[in-house]
């Protein structure tokens, strides 16, 4: 269920409970003024005690409403931003994967053409060894480029680890919400999502494949500006 839908449900619940609250007030107004008596399951005071019982029910409902509002605010303030950032990370993973695949395929195409060119050189009556040497050098460059393109794997795995950590955090929060309504709820008793969370030390939440040149330039600028420790 999306956050927006969750909010709608909360608003609808709140509205329904307000209607109940209004109805309860109406019942109380119609009843004679009496002091609420403590409720016990065995105590049977008849309809005259109903307003007091409903009064307590009303107070409990208002308490639940208050906690619902607090929960909604907490979810809204913390979850929305994180989920949006996670969504962006996952989109970047898709994009980085596609970019790497295209780069590798392009390099494969160029390498294949170079192999064809080497075949042509070999087929000549007097093979041009110097030209073949240049083509082989280019072929090695292309193969190396393919390997370099695989760096996306390390970065995207960090992005996915971050996304996984956010989802685990959301799961924990939802379990907390469930317990808010029923402290004895067994949800999460056997399952501890925090145990599944990736080790925060193993990934950078800001890891990205974008703008490597600009980010390298920033690092160079800082190392130039601040004297690096003498090696």
């Amino acid at each position: 269920m999306s956050i927006h839908r969750t909010q709608e449900v909360l608003y609808e619940t709140e509205a329904a409970l307000r209607l109940v609250d209004h109805g309860l007030h109406g019942l109380r107004d119609d009843a004679p003024d009496i002091e609420p008596a403590p409720f016990t399951p065995t105590h049977r005071g008849g309809l005259s005690e109903l307003p007091a019982i409903l009064e307590r029910a009303n107070a409990q409902i208002l308490g639940v409403l208050s906690r619902l509002r607090e929960t909604r605010a907490a979810i809204e303030s913390t979850a929305l931003e994180k989920l949006a950032s996670t969504h962006e990370k996952i989109r970047e993973v898709t994009s980085a994967t596609e970019d790497a695949a295209i780069n590798i395929m392009d390099a494969c195409d160029r390498a294949s053409q170079m192999v064809d060119e080497l075949d042509c050189i070999d087929a000549e009556p007097t093979p041009d060894r110097e030209r073949a040497l240049v083509v082989r050098g280019g072929l090695r460059d292309e193969l190396f480029l393919m390997m370099g393109a695989l760096q996306f794997q390390d970065i995207t795995s960090q992005q996915l680890a971050h996304a996984s950590a956010v989802l685990v955090e959301m799961e924990t929060r939802l379990i907390d919400v469930a317990r808010l309504f029923d402290a004895n709820a067994d949800v999460g008793e056997q399952h501890h999502p925090e145990h599944d969370a990736p080790d925060a030390q193993t990934y950078d939440p800001n890891a990205t494949t974008r703008d490597p040149e600009a980010r390298q330039a920033l690092a160079d600028e800082i190392f130039t500006a601040v004297r690096a420790p003498a090696a």
Binding site: I155, D204, P212, A219
Partner: protein, 123 residues
């Protein structure tokens, strides 16, 4: 020249080691995290290339521990990491890193940074 390459990603270790071979450095030893790197480091290692985010011991903690050792106080340390915000770069410098490469990197950048630190490594 003997390089110690530290990264928890086997893919990245392989890319760095292949890049080193391509620019003429074939003597390498690998480690999957800072703890393993500390265990593998000895006086024969003349250059360290390390990642930042790793399990058990991060690249910055590893560098600090290395700098505290008599045999690791002056060895050149090049950090290769996806982290690239200013605070991170400054933290790496404070830990004792000599230069910094942002992932994804090109072999040219790796060569430039190694070349710049080679005099220190040879000393």
């Amino acid at each position: 020249m003997k390089f110690l390459v530290v990264d928890d990603s086997a893919t990245m270790r392989r890319i760095v080691v292949n890049s080193l071979q391509r620019i003429g450095f074939t003597n390498t030893v690998e480690a999957g995290d800072g703890q393993e790197a500390l265990a593998r480091f000895d006086a024969s290692v003349t250059f360290v290339i390390t990642d930042w985010n790793m399990p058990n011991m991060s690249g910055t903690d590893f560098t600090r521990a290395l700098r505290a050792r008599p045999d690791g106080a002056t060895v050149p340390v090049l950090m290769v990491t996806a982290r690239s915000v200013k605070e991170d770069i400054l933290t790496a410098m404070e830990a004792g890193v000599n230069n910094y490469i942002v992932k994804p990197f090109t072999p040219q950048v790796l060569k430039e940074k190694i070349d710049a630190l080679l005099p220190a490594a040879a000393a």
